[in-house]
C-alpha cells in the first residue's frame, strides 16, 4: 500500500516508552513494549482526552497519566471496568524502521 509513512526507528523510542507523531489533526502516540512491539494510538484517552503517550507502559498496556485508566495498546480498548476506546493505527517494522498508516484501524 502506498500510505505507509516512515516515522523513525525503533531505537528512537525508549523501551517501555512512547513518542509523539504530530499530524494535522492531532497527535498519535507511538509506543514500544519490553519485547520491542510497536503500537500506535491516537494520543487521547477515551476518558477525558489525557495524552496517553505520557503514561507508564507495562505489558501491552499504557496507564493514562491523568486518572490512571489502563488502555490496551493493541486496539486502544480501555481495560475493564473502564469503558471506551481510542483509535489505533496500523504499524509495520522493516529493518528497524517504523511505518505508520494514518487510516485508523478502529
Amino acid at each position: 500500500m502506498s500510505d505507509w509513512i516512515e516515522v523513525g526507528t525503533i531505537d528512537d523510542i525508549p523501551v517501555l516508552g512512547a513518542r509523539v507523531v504530530s499530524t494535522a489533526d492531532g497527535n498519535i502516540g507511538v509506543f514500544r513494549t519490553a519485547d520491542d512491539e510497536i503500537f500506535a494510538l491516537r494520543d487521547e484517552c477515551p476518558h477525558q482526552k489525557g495524552p496517553l503517550s505520557q503514561g507508564i507502559v507495562h505489558g501491552n498496556q499504557v496507564t493514562c497519566p491523568l486518572h490512571n485508566w489502563n488502555i490496551e495498546l493493541d486496539g486502544g480498548e480501555a481495560v475493564a471496568p473502564d469503558e471506551g476506546c481510542t483509535a489505533s493505527y496500523p504499524v509495520k517494522i522493516e529493518d528497524g524502521k517504523i511505518f505508520l498508516s494514518l487510516v485508523a484501524a478502529g
Binding site: 507523531v21 507508564i56 505489558g59
Partner: protein, 812 residues
C-alpha cells in the same frame, strides 16, 4: 490434556477460588462444578435485603449460568454429590452423575443448626440459609400473620427485620439476655434491642424453647416456663455447623470442620477445601472476608504457584439492618489483663468501647456512631501501639472530618442522592448499586467500578462504611499482609527488606528476585520500586525514567490540557530582581498564559508546551534558578516567615534557617512529597505545624515538629523535641528525612507513616539515640551527593532525555 478440577459446592467461597484461579491461570484446568442448589452462584449475604424487599434474586446473582458457559465451566446445578471415590479420583452425585478429577475442591459451606425439639420438622419451620428459605418466608408472609424467630444473633435479627418489613408481626426469641452476644456487650446489645423495639419488633429474652406445636403446620411455640405464643412461621437462626458430612464419610480428617493446612490442603493432597466447611488452625469462619482470603490462597496453590499462605483472619461485623449502626471486632469483652476505654452518650444514642492490652487494641464494640470502626479495626490488625494518642482514641480519627464531602461523616445517615466523592461526583446510591449489582467486595473493587475515593482519597472512610454496611463486614485483607499491588504477593516492607538484604539495584533485579507476576509490573509498582532501589542504593541504582510518573519524567507538572507548569526554586521563599526579570522575560518570550504565586512561596508558570520546556529552563537557569521539584515525590518547598531580621516578634533568623534547610535538602527523592517551614516565633506565620518538618523558633532555641499535613486530611504536627542550636536543626532534619526515606511505603506521607509506626519510634531513632541520628544524617548526605543535580540544566543544555521533548515526526 488439561488436568481436571472438580468443585463441590457452588457457593461463595468455592466460586471465589475458581474466579481467582481463572485470573491467574485461565488455561490450566478443565473445571466442573457441582451445586446442590438449582442456581448459579449468588451472593448469600444479600439474602437479607431480598427478604426485606430491597433487592431481588436477579440483583444478587454473582455468576449466572451464562457466565459458566462463557468460561467453559461445566455446571451440574441441583446435583448433590453423594460420595467421592478417592482411590480412583471420582466424584459421584445422587443422580449418578460421575466426574473424574486430578484436583478436588470442597466448599460445602455449613448447615443451619436446627434445635431438635418436638415439632422441629413441621411445615412452616424453616432456617435462613438459601434462596429456598427466603422463598418460603416471602410466601408465608403473604398468607400468614405471626412469625417467631428463634435466635437473636446477626442472622435472626436480619430475618426478623425482613419479615417485619413484609408486614408480619415478629417476635424474636433469645436464650440469653443480650442480643448478638457474640458481637455486642450488654450495653450496646441493650441499645440495639431498644431501637429494634421502637421499629416494631418484639423480644422474648431468656426464653428456652421446649416444643414447636401444631399438627399439619406450625401453630405456636411453647417455652420451658410454660408460656405459649402463636406462630404461623418459625425461623430457626441459632447458629451454623460446618457441613463436613461428605468429607467425613469419605474418610478425610475432620474435627469441627474439614481440617486444612496453611495452603488450604486437606489430609488428602489431591483435595483442597475452602469456606465455612473448613477448620484452619483450630478456627472456623462464618463471614465472607476470611473465606475470600482462603480462596485466594487456594487458587494460588491450585495454579501451582505455591507461594501464598493463609494464616488466619481477624474479622469485624456490622448488622445489615438499614438505619442501625453497630460495629464490633475482636475481643471486646476483655479480662483481667486488659483495660477498657468507654465512651457513652445516652442522649445521642452513642456508645463506644475499646479494649486494650499492653496499649494495643484487642477489640472494639460501638453503637450509634461507628465512624471510627474501620480505624480501630486497622489499628487492631496492625497491632499499633496507641500510647502516643490514647487520649484522642475515643474522640476518633479526624479523617472523616476531611474536606470534599460536605462534612458528612456517617454514611448511614446519608440519603442515596448525597455526594460521597466530591472529586468524581459519585453519590451514595451509585456506590450501593454498584456493590450489589456488580458483586463488589473490596475497596479496590468499588474504586475501579465507581471511581469513588479513587482520586484524592478523602472519602475513603465513607466508602468503607458504605461497603461494610451493605455487605455486613470489613472486606479488606489485613493491611500488614496486603501486597504492594496486583503484580506481587509481597507487601511493601518485605520488598524494601529484600532490596536491602539481597543488594538489588534495579527494578528488573527486584522483579526477578521476588518472582513478579507480571512481565514488567504496572503503573503502581514500577514507580515504587524505582524509588526503593534508588533510596537504598543511591550510588549504584540507576534512575529508570520509564518508571516515573510523567511529571517526574518531564520535570514539570502535566495539566489537564496536556501542557505543563514550571515552578523554579526560590530558596526559602526569597527572590531577587534578577530572578523576577528572568521570569517576566520567559513569560513574554513563550507566551505563558498564566502566572501565579503558589502557596509554597514561589511562582508557577502555567500553560507551557512540552517542547518549549528545555528552552524555558535554559533561560531560568541563566538567571541562576533551578528546578523547584514542584512535580515530584521529593522535597518541595521550605516556607519561611520574615523572622527577626524584620519582624518585631522574631526570636531567630527563620529566613536564613529556611534557606539553609532548602539548600541541604533540595533534589532529594522521597516516598511522597515533603514540605518544610520555619517560623520565627510561636505566632507561626509560616504554618510550620502543618508541615512534614516544621521549625518553630523560640527565644531559647528551636522546636522541631514532624508529621503535619494540610489539605484533605489536616493533621497538626507532633512535637519531636526542642533543640538549642541551628546545627541541630539541620542534623535532626536530615535524620528525620532519612528515616522517612528508608522506612515509609511509597506514596505514604509522613503523617500516616508516623501514625502507623508511632511517634515513639521516630523519637527513639532521631532524638534519643545520638549515634543513630548521626548515622542517618550521614546516609542522607551521601545520597544527596547523587541527587543534587539540577534536572533542568541537564535537559536544557546537556541534551539529557532529548527524545522526551521532541516529537518523533511531524506529518502534514
Amino acid at each position: 490434556m488439561k488436568e481436571k478440577l472438580v468443585l463441590i459446592g457452588n457457593g461463595m467461597a468455592g466460586m471465589r477460588a475458581i474466579e481467582e484461579l481463572l485470573d491467574i491461570a485461565p488455561e490450566m484446568y478443565d473445571i466442573t462444578v457441582f451445586g446442590a442448589e438449582p442456581y448459579g452462584n449468588y451472593n448469600r449475604i444479600l439474602l437479607s435485603p431480598v427478604l426485606a424487599g430491597e433487592k431481588t434474586i436477579d440483583d444478587i446473582m454473582l455468576n449466572d449460568e451464562q457466565w459458566y458457559a462463557d468460561n467453559g465451566i461445566a455446571l451440574h446445578k441441583g446435583k448433590k454429590v453423594s460420595t467421592v471415590d478417592r482411590r480412583n479420583r471420582k466424584v459421584v452425585a445422587e443422580d449418578g452423575t460421575t466426574e473424574e478429577y486430578d484436583r478436588l475442591l470442597l466448599a460445602t459451606g455449613s448447615n443451619p443448626f436446627i434445635i431438635p425439639v418436638p415439632g422441629h420438622d413441621l411445615p412452616g419451620v424453616i432456617s435462613f440459609r438459601d434462596i429456598y428459605d427466603v422463598d418460603v418466608m416471602l410466601e408465608s408472609s403473604k398468607k400468614h400473620k405471626h412469625a417467631v424467630v428463634i435466635g437473636g444473633g446477626l442472622l435472626g435479627l436480619e430475618a426478623a427485620n425482613g419479615l417485619m418489613l413484609q408486614g408480619m408481626h415478629v417476635t424474636v426469641v433469645h436464650l440469653g439476655d443480650t442480643l448478638m452476644e457474640r458481637q455486642m456487650d450488654a450495653v450496646s446489645g441493650g441499645m440495639l434491642k431498644k431501637s429494634l423495639e421502637e421499629r416494631g419488633l418484639n423480644f422474648l429474652m431468656n426464653a428456652s424453647t421446649e416444643a414447636i406445636i401444631g399438627e399439619d403446620r406450625v401453630k405456636g411455640v411453647r417455652f420451658k416456663d410454660g408460656l405459649e405464643i402463636a406462630a404461623d412461621l418459625v425461623v430457626m437462626a441459632v447458629g451454623i455447623r460446618p457441613n463436613m458430612a461428605l468429607a467425613e464419610s469419605v474418610g478425610l480428617h475432620c474435627e469441627r470442620g474439614v481440617v486444612v493446612n496453611d495452603t488450604m490442603q486437606t489430609y488428602d493432597p489431591k483435595i483442597y477445601a475452602v469456606g465455612e466447611c473448613v477448620q484452619h488452625r483450630g478456627e472456623t469462619y462464618g463471614l465472607v472476608a476470611p473465606l475470600f482470603e482462603q480462596a485466594k490462597v487456594c487458587a494460588n496453590h491450585l495454579a501451582k504457584m505455591g507461594i501464598a499462605r493463609y494464616e488466619g483472619s481477624v474479622t469485624s461485623t456490622k448488622l445489615k439492618v438499614t438505619g442501625i449502626d453497630l460495629f464490633s471486632a475482636g475481643d471486646f469483652i476483655g479480662d483481667d489483663t486488659t483495660e477498657d476505654i468507654v465512651m457513652q452518650d445516652a442522649g445521642r444514642g452513642v456508645y463506644k468501647k475499646v479494649v486494650l492490652k499492653d496499649n494495643k487494641i484487642q477489640g472494639a464494640v460501638m453503637y450509634g456512631d461507628t465512624v471510627d470502626g474501620a480505624w480501630y479495626f486497622q489499628l487492631m490488625r496492625d497491632a499499633t501501639d496507641v500510647s502516643d494518642f490514647r487520649t484522642a482514641l475515643m474522640l476518633g480519627q479526624a479523617h472523616l472530618g476531611d474536606s470534599g464531602h460536605g462534612g458528612n461523616t456517617a454514611a448511614a445517615n446519608m440519603s442515596d442522592d448525597m455526594e460521597v466523592c466530591g472529586c468524581n461526583g459519585v453519590c451514595k446510591g451509585d456506590i450501593v448499586t454498584a456493590i450489589t449489582t456488580k458483586g463488589l467486595f473490596t475497596l479496590d473493587d468499588v474504586r475501579s467500578h465507581t471511581k469513588a475515593s479513587n482520586s484524592c482519597g478523602s472519602c475513603t472512610g465513607l466508602v468503607e462504611q458504605i461497603l461494610a454496611s451493605t455487605l455486613g463486614g470489613d472486606y479488606s485483607a489485613a493491611p500488614h499482609s496486603k501486597p504492594m499491588c496486583k503484580c506481587t504477593d509481597y507487601p511493601h516492607d518485605d520488598v524494601r527488606k529484600a532490596i536491602k538484604e539481597r543488594h538489588l539495584i534495579s527494578i528488573r533485579a527486584v522483579m526477578d528476585s521476588m518472582q513478579w507476576k507480571t512481565v514488567d509490573g504496572c503503573a503502581s509498582c514500577r514507580p515504587a520500586l524505582n524509588y526503593y532501589v534508588m533510596a537504598t542504593w543511591p550510588a549504584e541504582a540507576k534512575d529508570d525514567a520509564q518508571s516515573r510518573f510523567i511529571n517526574e519524567r518531564a520535570h514539570a507538572n502535566i495539566q489537564k490540557d496536556g501542557t505543563y507548569s514550571v515552578v523554579p526554586r526560590m530558596w526559602g521563599g526569597l527572590t531577587s530582581p534578577k530572578e523576577l526579570r528572568a521570569i517576566a522575560d520567559v513569560v513574554d518570550k513563550f507566551d505563558v498564559p498564566e502566572l501565579k504565586v503558589t502557596g509554597g512561596q514561589r511562582i508557577d508558570l502555567f500553560g507551557i508546551k512540552k517542547e518549549d520546556l528545555p528552552a524555558v529552563w535554559a533561560d531560568l537557569n541563566a538567571a541562576g534558578m533551578v528546578s523547584g521539584h514542584a512535580y515530584g515525590k521529593s522535597l518541595r518547598t521550605v516556607k519561611t516567615c520574615v523572622g527577626k531580621t524584620w519582624c518585631r516578634f522574631g526570636t531567630q533568623d527563620s529566613t536564613s534557617i529556611g534557606v539553609e534547610l532548602e539548600r541541604l535538602s533540595w533534589g532529594s527523592w522521597m516516598p511522597h512529597k515533603f514540605k518544610m517551614a520555619v517560623s520565627g516565633c510561636p505566632r507561626n506565620c509560616a504554618e510550620a505545624t502543618i508541615k512534614d518538618y516544621g521549625v518553630v523558633c523560640v527565644d531559647s532555641g528551636y522546636e522541631l515538629h514532624v508529621g503535619g499535613n494540610g489539605g484533605i486530611t489536616v493533621r497538626v504536627t507532633d512535637l519531636l523535641c526542642k533543640v538549642e542550636t541551628e546545627e541541630e536543626v539541620y542534623e535532626y532534619s536530615k535524620a528525620f528525612m532519612q528515616l522517612y526515606r528508608e522506612e515509609a511505603h511509597y506514596l505514604e506521607r509522613t503523617a500516616p507513616w508516623i501514625e502507623r509506626v508511632g511517634l515513639s519510634h521516630i523519637k527513639q531513632y532521631v532524638e534519643e539515640d545520638a549515634d543513630n541520628r548521626k548515622a542517618l544524617a550521614a546516609r542522607f548526605d551521601e545520597s544527596q551527593k547523587y541527587a543534587q543535580i539540577d534536572p533542568w540544566a541537564e535537559r536544557a543544555s546537556e541534551g539529557v532525555a532529548e527524545h522526551e521533548f521532541t516529537s518523533l515526526k511531524q506529518i502534514g
